[in-house]
């Protein structure tokens, strides 16, 4: 813009300087190209000019300066003044236009009429035959009606009077403009512009009337006047998005829990509504809560959904209203009970307090004697296990991690029982028993299928050492003496199902298998005859510690809970592979509950 302030005067100077020269590009301002051709030259909007580029070269032989012009393309006039025009060119050509380039008119010359002169002529004609005319414009001196001489003999310059009056009206309110034009008519009743001026006065009078009507409505506090205004405004606002027939409210798709939700409803016709209610139903509640909406401002109803109703899940809501009038009935106006609007409420994000009794640590040692010979026999083992459990409840009920060792000797029942020397040699003099040590780890996942049905899955793996030497020496296969020792990885698993309450009365049925160690089938019944006395009775069918003959174990385990977080228990068991191959043994366990 500042640039234009410099360019335009410069253009005027150049225009004067080049008044008699060939048409030239005076300046280039962005897309606008200024040329010194105007209406006086027969150039106007739509005219076409040709851009000429002058090439100057010197003849190398004669030394003469040679000039020639080449047409580079066409320019189109977009607007013209008396002497200047603004032209535009195609983008590729526009880049090549330079100030000083010549131009020439290639479209036919056109004749332009001064609009003010034309209006005056029209006014004269209208004086003879009345008819409508446009608003007055600035009278141009030197063109138009000649001054007349009234009876007083003074010469009246109609143009000058009209111009003076027109200038006075600029920027004035309609009342003053009317007064000024009336003053002109009084002062110059024979003005050739009278018809135009009278039309202008009529137009201004109409504008004042419209304004007063609008102001009267704007002053009115009457609902009948305000409602149409509001409805019209809301209709215009509709361009921004779909609004309801009666109410409009901004969408709210989600919100966080425990924070009140404020809703502001825009009402199309506030006077038409008598009362309105917002109904909300948090997830899980059987019915809707009702909140009366309060009128507010120009055209609004407002209501707040209290924090207690903003709970995790889906919040359903709708609005009902009753129109003004004795027979009006309550009706849904935004959503409905059957088809409510919904706001998704986020889940609670809190650091939950530490839950008690979620973890359990269980350690037990169990000595199992199948042949009644205790340490000197060939069918007994001990098993120690430590188990860490945490109840997550969801989505996995509990996870257990554990470490265990099973170590003992086993072999064919018949061989053990029939060897009179008690050395586990068969009739062929072959030692048939094996000593195994299985150190294993496991992870168990407990899934709660039903309230009283749980499924526990446990994969386990460990190091299995098998000694087949029959030397029965302590420490064999643990040190350098590894003759007849086999080392392998024992992989297995266990599946259990529990029916009943985990910490109450329940029945557990399970099956487990470990490669090289054996199979275990079990059923355990746990109950609390007294809160301080947990009891578990079990029956197991197993061929452990080596996969030979199955036997049955009957186990009773009784605890004593004197502390809330700890109880020990003792177990006694009877096991037999047949009625002559049986023994009694026991063990103990420690349980920690945190």
């Amino acid at each position: 813009m500042r640039w234009l302030l410099i360019v335009v005067p410069a253009l005027l100077c150049v225009t004067v300087a080049l008044a008699s020269a060939e048409p030239t590009v005076l300046a280039v301002d962005g897309e606008d190209i200024y040329v010194d051709l105007g209406a006086a030259d027969g150039v106007g909007a739509g005219s076409e000019l040709e851009l000429l580029h002058e090439v100057v070269a010197r003849d190398p032989q004669t030394g003469a300066v040679l000039r020639d012009r080449f047409a580079l393309g066409r320019l189109r006039v977009v607007k013209s003044g008396e002497r200047l025009s603004v032209v535009v060119a195609e983008p590729t050509l526009a880049e090549r236009v330079l100030a000083g380039d010549r131009v020439r008119l290639v479209s036919p010359k056109r004749a332009f009429v001064d609009p003010w002169v034309a209006q005056v002529v029209a006014s004269r004609a209208a004086a003879a035959a009345p008819g409508p005319a446009g608003p007055p414009g600035p009278p141009t001196s030197g063109a138009g009606p000649t001054p007349s001489t009234p009876r007083t003999g003074a010469v009246v310059d109609h143009v000058a009077l009209a111009r003076e009056a027109w200038l006075d009206t600029l920027g004035q309110p309609p009342e003053r403009r009317i007064a000024r034009w009336q003053a002109l008519i009084e002062a110059d009743p024979k003005s050739p512009y009278r018809r135009v001026i009278e039309n202008e006065i009529a137009s201004l009078t109409d504008q004042i009337r419209q304004r007063e009507d609008a102001l009267a409505k704007a002053r009115s506090a009457d609902d009948g006047d305000r409602d149409p205004r509001i409805a019209a405004l809301v209709a215009e606002l509709e361009g921004a998005g779909a609004l309801g027939d009666v109410l409009a409210v901004a969408p709210l798709a989600r919100a966080i829990p425990n924070r009140p939700i404020e809703l502001g409803f825009l009402v199309r016709q506030p006077a038409a509504l008598h009362r309105a209610w917002l109904y909300v139903r948090p997830q899980g509640e059987p019915g809707y809560r009702r909140i009366e909406l309060v009128r507010d401002g120009d055209a609004y109803l407002r209501g707040t959904i209290e924090a207690a109703a903003v709970k995790e899940g889906t919040l359903a809501w709708y609005v009902e209203a009753v129109a003004a009038g004795p027979d009006a009935e309550v009706a849904p106006v935004l959503g409905s009970a059957a088809d409510p609007r919904r706001i998704e409420i986020d889940a609670e994000v809190v650091e939950a307090p530490i839950a008690a009794e979620r973890s359990h640590v269980h350690a037990h040692v169990d000595y199992v004697d199948f042949d009644g010979s205790l340490a000197t026999g060939f069918d007994q083992y001990y098993q120690a296990e430590i188990d860490f459990m945490y109840r997550f409840l969801h989505p996995v009920y509990a996870v257990r991690l554990g470490f265990g060792t099973l170590s003992g000797t086993g072999g064919p029942r018949d061989v053990i029982d029939e060897d009179p020397m008690g050395t586990c040699f068969d009739g062929d003099g072959v030692y048939r028993c094996r000593q195994v040590t299985f150190s294993y780890v496991y992870t168990e996942v407990e899934l709660r299928l039903r309230r009283n049905v749980a499924l526990m899955l446990r994969p386990q793996a460990g190091l299995l050492t098998t000694d087949t030497s029959g030397l029965m020496e302590e420490g064999r296969c643990r040190g350098a003496d590894t003759t007849d020792c086999r080392f392998s990885t024992g992989v297995g698993g266990r599946v259990r199902a529990r029916f009943g309450e985990e910490r109450g009365t329940n029945l557990v049925i399970g099956v487990g298998f470990t490669d090289g160690v054996g199979t275990l089938l079990e059923a355990a019944y746990h109950w609390l005859p007294h809160t301080a006395v947990p009891v578990q009775l079990s029956v197991q069918v197993t061929d452990q510690p080596v996969p030979e003959n199955f036997g049955v174990r009957l186990i009773g385990d009784v605890g004593w809970r004197s502390l809330s977080w700890f109880y020990p228990s003792l177990r006694i068991s009877y096991q037999a592979r047949d009625i002559d191959h049986a023994g009694v043994s026991g063990g103990f366990a420690m349980n920690f509950d945190w």
Partner: protein, 359 residues
């Protein structure tokens, strides 16, 4: 205005008094009542919520806007001072006012006008009961807030941990490792929950050959490394740790990578499943169960299967570790671990100690 009314009342009173004195004198012509003031009307759909960090645009249609100086008075929730935003003409028609970028928990506003006489007109809501535009935090925002509260603003931690385990074996050759790490952790508490950098060293002895060849000698293995770690919060209660380590081992340049998934929160009860592999020291894998039910102790049990320190005697190095951490002070935590497990032969013990300072 009030002055005008008072003056007018006085004039009327004087006129009435004069008429009473004059008795039958005719009543003066009644003064025309001033016309009620022109009132603007403002309609807009009040936004109920706005995204954090974006300006709140109010689009409105206004009738008789010339009648009043219309403004939107707004303030961030919690602020005491109201600020004004003017309505501007929209090139698309209508009017608009722009309130600055909203931050949690939101802002409140009302629309008022003031006529030429200075009378304030309420068009929507009021200073006493403004309309609230909520800026609801995202899940990550809320989790971050919770974490910051839990940490008391201490988002940095320096930790030293040393663990070791003696596996032993039936050949009475040493098979053990010791591992130490110094870790600096910076908690971002967003999707990237923390970043960490540290240095570590592993030193160990292990039989030189596998059990099939009855090893008779052992080797010294080790790794000196630096590492970078990212913890990503994939879900409110699922975290993913990724670590890359570069260093040198007994054989030269070595690299290692580690990853673990934590189901639950690492500072609460959780289950972790992870693995690590080093080019020269072999792979490790673990499952860890942690429980927080015995405050102030945080306990954990892990099953670890590892080849550390680059063992070849057997691939079944397994131990169970039980660890306890205890917060001695608000900034200081100590940890201890005991482990029991074997690789070849009878099980042996191991253990560890560690401490962490938060700031």
């Amino acid at each position: 205005m009030k002055t005008h009314v008072t003056a007018l009342s006085l004039l009327l009173a004087l006129a009435t008094s004069a008429r009473a004195e004059e008795g039958a004198s005719p009543a003066p012509p009644a003064l025309p009542a001033p016309p009620p003031p022109v009132r603007a009307l403002v309609v807009h759909v009040a936004p109920a919520s706005a995204p954090a960090g974006r300006p709140v645009e109010l689009e409105a249609e206004i009738d008789a806007p010339f009648a009043e100086q219309l403004t939107v008075r707004w303030r961030a929730i919690g602020d005491s001072q109201w600020q004004d935003a003017a309505f501007e003409r929209s090139s698309a028609g209508g009017w608009f006012a722009t309130l600055p970028a909203a931050r949690m928990p939101g802002l409140e506003y009302y629309i008022r006008g003031q006529d030429a006489a200075g009378v304030e007109v309420a068009h929507f809501a009021s200073a006493a009961r403004p309309h609230v535009v909520r800026v609801d935090p995202t899940l990550i925002d809320r989790l971050e807030e919770l974490d910051r509260e839990r940490l008391g603003g201490r988002v940095n931690q320096v930790a030293i941990d040393v663990i070791g385990h003696d596996f032993g074996n039936r050949y009475d050759l040493p098979d053990r490792f010791l591992r130490g790490e110094l870790t600096y952790t910076h908690r971002l508490l967003r999707r990237i929950h923390h970043i960490a950098f540290g240095f570590g060293a592993i030193q160990g002895r292990t039989p030189a050959s596998d059990a099939a060849r009855a090893p008779s000698e052992y080797v010294l293995n080790g790794l000196r490394y630096g590492f970078g770690e990212l913890r990503l919060r994939a879900h409110a209660s699922v975290f993913l740790d990724l670590r890359v380590a570069l260093g040198v081992s007994q054989d030269g340049f070595d690299q290692a990578a580690r990853g673990q998934v934590i189901f639950g929160k690492p500072w609460r009860s959780s289950v972790t499943v992870g693995g690590e592999v080093s080019g020269d020291l072999g792979p490790s894998a673990w499952v860890r169960l942690q429980w927080d039910t015995a405050p102030p102790l945080l306990m954990g049990a892990s099953i670890v299967r590892t080849d550390l320190p680059g063992a070849v005697i057997d691939a079944a190095g397994l131990y169970l570790a039980y660890d306890v951490s205890y917060r001695l002070a608000s900034r200081l935590t100590v940890r201890a671990q005991v482990s029991y497990g074997s690789r070849d032969g009878a099980a042996h013990l191991g253990g560890g100690l560690g401490t962490a300072v938060d700031f």
